[in-house]
Amino acid sequence: MPPSNRIQQLVKGVLRGDKRSIARTISIIENSEPEAQKLVALLYPKTGKAHLVGITGPPGAGKSTLIEKMVKELRNRGKTVGVVAVDPTSPFTGGAFLGDRVRMQDLSVDPGVYIRSMATRNNPGGLAKATKDASRVLDASGKDIVIIETVGAGQSEVEVVKVAHTVIVTLAPGLGDDIQAIKAGQMEIGDVFVVNKADRENANKAASDIEAMLELATEKTGWKPPVVKTSALTGEGIAQLLECIDEHGAYLKTGMLDERRKERVENELIEALKEKITESILNDLRSRGEWKRLTQKILARETDPYTAADELLAKQSKSKTKKKA
């Protein structure tokens, strides 16, 4: 099959929600295969309908189990759901163990649910590079809600705010005191806070610590993040959590969503530009001998990386002007 036909077929498949087409499309994007950019370009106009919900929080807070319960409840309410669950890639071997499905077993045969595990491939910030585009594929496939589960690595895991409309920070009792709650990073990005494992001791203490932290916020916006106690074990609080997500979605529609989207689109454009400019300059430089010569010089300590970079850039702009003339 010629590549353009293959792309058309995949796009058609994704738009009618065909799981195999969705799966292949996500892989192509994840592996940066040649068709990836074209696929994103064709699907992009069909996105923007799904509510993208990010779930972050420390490892063991119960994110995957909570998602299973949320998805079941959403299905009861007649919604279709996509899940992208991210787990870490080993920086040493490049391999990954993706175990989030273990907690979501019952969902895999539900025709209204699509779950995809994704390794970070060493992308920092708790998401994989392809996570955003994968959630777009699921959006285009007609899912009402797309849930993005971050790695769960820790406090600086904030990339999810660039992808999700609503961010849920999931915590559990006993993970830390009010000093932990005041720290920067993860605690700043929650639109909704969840104290999971509410069947355990100290859940009330954890919830009030978070509420106290939220009270300290100096910058008031129109949205005050609610704190919800949930138990994936008993099902307590799941319905309430879904109401909070809906409310936040409605709040965003009062104009905040456009604001967030605009900011996001600008950031994304900058990222895409950076990548393409770097790529093209690097390819150009590598194709000439300069690259090798300067690497050797740095290795021999005859120059340093910054001076070498200046030298390379100077040569690059000179050759560009020459080409034009």
Binding site: R24, T93, A96, F97, L98, R101, V102, Q105, V109, E279
Partner: protein, 137 residues
């Protein structure tokens, strides 16, 4: 989107049926992870439908089935049939666990490429997967 190609072998390690011993499955998953592959673990007590659906949604190249219960001759034909039905004909399937030698020819005939018994080294397993995973789809 980077132009740099990164193609990883994706494997699902599944526990079909009712036995609840997954030490072997976890060792296999760990060995493949350490060999640079992306390993999706399903957890215990999976139906053939769940395993095939997982393989489909995760777009895997390889399925490893770990079984100790003796129900392989009942479960594996259903898994292989479902894979064909869903168009996943090129996925490499191997199995390991407690499987009598006399069942091996029948399993191979239904499309299971390799049956690993007790005492298999992880390096032999990794080598098998590397060499036999479908190259490009």
């Amino acid at each position: 989107m980077s132009m740099k190609k990164e193609r990883k072998i994706r494997v699902v390690i599944a526990k079909p049926g009712l036995d609840s011993h997954d030490r072997g499955a976890k060792i296999v998953a760990r060995a493949l992870r350490d060999a640079g592959m992306e390993v999706i673990y399903t957890g215990l007590r999976q139906t053939p439908e769940q395993i095939v659906e997982t393989a489909l949604q995760e777009d895997v190249d390889v399925i490893g089935l770990s079984i100790l219960s003796g129900a392989h001759m009942a479960l594996f034909p259903r898994i292989m049939k479902l894979l064909k039905k869903k168009g996943l004909n090129d996925v490499l399937v191997f199995t390991g666990g407690i499987i009598p030698q006399e069942d091996v020819p029948a399993l191979k005939k239904m499309g299971i490429r390799k049956v690993f018994g007790p005492g298999t080294t992880t390096s032999a397993l990794v080598e098998f997967v590397r060499e036999n995973a479908p190259k490009r789809r």
